[in-house]
């Protein structure tokens, strides 16, 4: 492909600073594409303007699915397919079914939610990430600005990044 994407990459060395810098840079009229950090910084996604994640909804739905599946299985096998009298109990022995129903719910929630997480972030074994700076998994906080989304010149954006605390500003093309 000849169409290359050109990025300005601001490198920060402090988590508090990068959090403040995001607001400052945004207020100066620069569109930040993404910030890459070695550990989670609370409030960073909100500061950048990412929409709130819907992962909890997915988790809840998978939990409901799990409960329905496992409960239907128990009900089908114990009441309809091969009913057995066990300890003189009803075929529909609801209290006895709670443990397995619970485990099934947890199993579906965990796997469904983690699966959703991997798919939504397109993470899979062997994927090659687009790396702006190798130190972003160590001790540097990387702010990536996509030049295609910004009207300002590179020099202007660079000075804004530096003013907000970036210790380096690099150009990266993909």
């Amino acid at each position: 492909m000849d169409s290359t994407e050109r990025y300005l990459v601001g490198v920060f060395d402090d988590d508090e600073e990068v959090l403040h810098a995001v607001t400052e840079v945004k207020n100066s009229g620069v569109k930040i594409e993404e910030v890459y950090t070695p550990f989670p910084i609370h409030g960073l996604d909100v500061a950048i303007g990412h929409p709130r994640t819907r992962i909890p909804i997915a988790a809840f739905l998978f939990g409901c699915l799990g409960l329905t599946c496992i409960f239907s299985l128990i009900n089908y096998t114990m009441v309809f397919d091969w009913p057995m009298i066990i300890g003189g109990k009803d075929f529909f022995a609801l209290p006895d079914w709670i443990p397995v129903s619970f485990e099934g719910t947890v199993l579906f929630t965990a796997f469904g939610m983690v699966g959703t997480f991997l798919v939504s972030n397109s993470l899979w074994p062997g994927k090659q990430p687009r790396t702006f700076d190798l130190r972003s998994t160590d001790d540097r906080f990387i702010m990536a600005v996509n030049m295609a989304n910004n009207k300002k010149t590179e020099a202007e954006i660079e000075s804004i990044l530096r003013a907000s605390g970036a210790i380096e500003v690099n150009v990266k093309q993909f």
């Binding site: 403040h20 996604d45 994640t53 299985l73 443990p99 947890v106 796997f111 993470l123 998994t137």
Partner: protein, 469 residues
Amino acid sequence: MSHVVSPIRETLVSGGKSYHDVTNDICKQVEGEPTKEWKIAFGVSCLVFAYGAYCLGYTWWQGIGVWGLNKTVGWAWDITNFVWWVGIGHAGTLISAVLLLFRQKWRTSINRSAEAMTIFAVLCAASFILAHMGRPWLFHWALPLPNTFGSLWVNFNSPLVWDVFAISTYLSVSLVFWYLGLVPDLATIRDRAQTKASKFWYGAFSLGWNGSAKTWARYEYVSLILAGISTPLVLSVHTIVSMDFATSVIPGWHTTIFPPYFVAGAIFSGFAMVQSLLLITRVVFKLEDYITIEHIEMMNIIVTVTGSIVGIAYLTEFFIAWYSGVEYESYCFINRATGPYWWAYWMMMTCNVISPQLFWFKKIRQSILVSFILSVVVNVGMWFERFVIIVSSLHRDYLPSSWAMFTPTMYDIGDYIFSFGLFFTLFFLFAKFLPVINMFEVKSVMRGVSTNFPAKKKSSGDKSKETVH
């Protein structure tokens, strides 16, 4: 991110580490050549594993007749070992899930190895489940699959079936939790990798992690929800294990106190095992700055609390046996304390009830040597607890002519040795090839709690205290 931390809190990371120091200190083990100590320890555990594998193989080949079981004592070392390992396997998820929900920051240095330990312990437990089936190749009969004789299904009213679901769910969810926690750290190793092999393997397993703000935001929700569902899960697992006993009508087993009593015992033994392993790991890998006296003390406090709960449970059982007026129940307990297995009972009482009370003294709580010895003592005691519950309740049943004693054979012992071999072989592999401390979580709590955080960062940390999220 801004942590407002009370000045009376002890520091969690000492030695004035920067973020980069954390990466270096933890990655060093993974990137360097294995040390001589590691090779020796790994070699020994492989030998133990090999001997155990022979014994277990023989057991599978010949059947469980090679064990010391008899007509009266139908469960002994197999289920004792199973319950013991499952109990130990509770600490990891407890540390990472429950302590996450309670926002206990000291968990960050110990959760990774505790979770690894959990998974290995549950695998060890599973080996006894398979072995005690007698025909392990038919283990799928415990799953809800339509069988060859028509569609006769498993009995969902049976605690043994609940256990199949509980253990397998617990193992797989713990594995997911652990692996997900590893992904960002694997990415750190990937980005530092020098050799082709480590670039490939750590690259493959880090799933293309890039640490973007969007990913982290989702990641934190996923961790929180996983912690939220793992907390009742971990409690349910040992509750269900206890119901294997409590729903029977055997005196000594048929008690309603079992679920909370077993869960407390599980936490007790699990934390003791984490303590034993961490005290060794911190010395071998020189992690004294990350696993500090503060961490050791916190663990000891939890051991004391859960040990006291277990002690109260022992006394309550005795009281209820008398108060219920059921003579079989009373006899069972008198027999436990004064019968032929009195030594096992008093071993349990001494190790589990008396020894953790020493931790009331701050000096003892902070002594590394004493902590290590007591953590081993606790697990010896917890093994005897399960042995007492299982064997002493069975060996003198309602018919005195069938009273019997249980003596382990070399295969009972060998299968137990197998589980140790498996556990330590896996643990040493983990300690060599994966980061033993959760780097990103340690980094995320460092600002508030690390000593001598480099001067420049400290000032910006103070500035941002106004913006607490």
